[in-house]
Amino acid sequence: MNFALLVLATLHGSDPWTLVERSERARQVPMDATVRTTFWREGKSHEGKSMRFRILQDKDFLRIEPLDGKGPKLWEHHGQIKGRGGRPMPLPPKPPEGMELELAKRNYDAVVERTDSVAGRLCDVVRLRPRHVGGNGRRLCIDPATGIALRRDQYSERGELLRRSTIESIQHLNPTAKAAPPNPEGPASPGQPAPSKPLSPAEAQQWLGFEVPQATWAPDGFVATGIEAHTCPEGGHAVRLGWTDGLAHFSVFVNPVGCMPPMEPKEPGTWKRIARWFHSEKDHRRPPMVKANLGPHTELMAMGDISRNLLNRVLLSMGTSSLPVHIVTSSKPDHRRDP
């Protein structure tokens, strides 16, 4: 299989990882882009839902506006994410340069498949297939002139198209663009650790007030990216533990009980079922979420690009005999297959 991919890549004459790396560099520059994303449910390829966004990205801030319908705006300023009623959210630390790309090279097979046309521009199509079971494949349509990925597709394990993002228009900005964020608020609350720096286990324990539980198991190909400090909406302290295989991510949030509003009632009543029906349209676009209790005082919440059962397994591995993990609930049924 790998040999066949190598032969195909050699015949085409382009190194797929060079193209991917170039597209990543092109994505980090200041830009003003309009992007359309279409989502499909697995097994229901005829029911696609589309959304359009305008993304304004500069060195110091990020601003996202939904173009279909009204919605809250969001921006980033001096390392703080603003939006959703003005509640500041700490900016997560960036991973070391090139770390995730190296991981992706280790966990995915890449091949330049063919050329395609997006909005009248010819582009190179790079297909990324996961080497480990349970991963999602990707397909990038990269413009050879600018290196920008004009189209990004994500596939299910069975090869069904789940998500397609197409750039409808893009304009590179001067890094000193005048598009300043409105109403920039002050820095983070005093006492909050610098959000741009990952925490050591000792710092995380100090921030959280108790020892951060460690996962003794992670899915194939995934490595831990570190610990970040976060603040609950009510003001309590929490941490995020992250994992990645280079392209896919999942997170586990650790916080004291009562720090976050409940995800859903233990026994959903009729009204909540109706509410879930109202929310069902967007549910399939969300990553799976699993909530668990670690002993009587700690809550764990896992979410990300892996299946619910794998999230369950990660959470269960964080328990000990004295502090067992009890899975409380999951946000939605999981349509993905598990290995």
Partner: protein, 100 residues
């Protein structure tokens, strides 16, 4: 036989061969039942009730969708953490951050 037909029979003169006593008894029996009655309250106020119920459903639906927060904001933190990752889809993050 519908009510109009019955009313027509009762309005007609009794047949010569009919027993006048029996005829009057029949008329006395049927007339109160065939008299135009006032429509019930349910019928009179049906459109108001329908409008009220629709309004109630609309308000409660709006209230349910606004007040039931199924997902916590951790999903936004998770989405945002991928912004600078090679596997991240900017619109995925955008959708998560801007969803109501």
């Amino acid at each position: 036989m519908n009510h109009d037909t019955l009313r027509g029979i009762l309005a007609a003169q009794p047949l010569p061969s009919a027993d006048p006593v029996a005829w009057e008894a029949l008329r006395a029996h049927l007339e109160p039942r065939l008299a135009p009655t006032r429509p019930s309250r349910l019928r009179r106020f049906r459109w108001s009730l329908l409008a009220g119920a629709s309004l109630l459903i609309a308000i409660s639906g709006f209230w349910i969708t606004r007040t039931s927060e199924v997902e916590p904001s951790w999903s936004q933190v998770h989405a945002l953490s991928q912004w600078s990752s090679p596997g991240a889809d900017p619109t995925w993050v955008a959708m998560e951050m801007t969803s109501p």
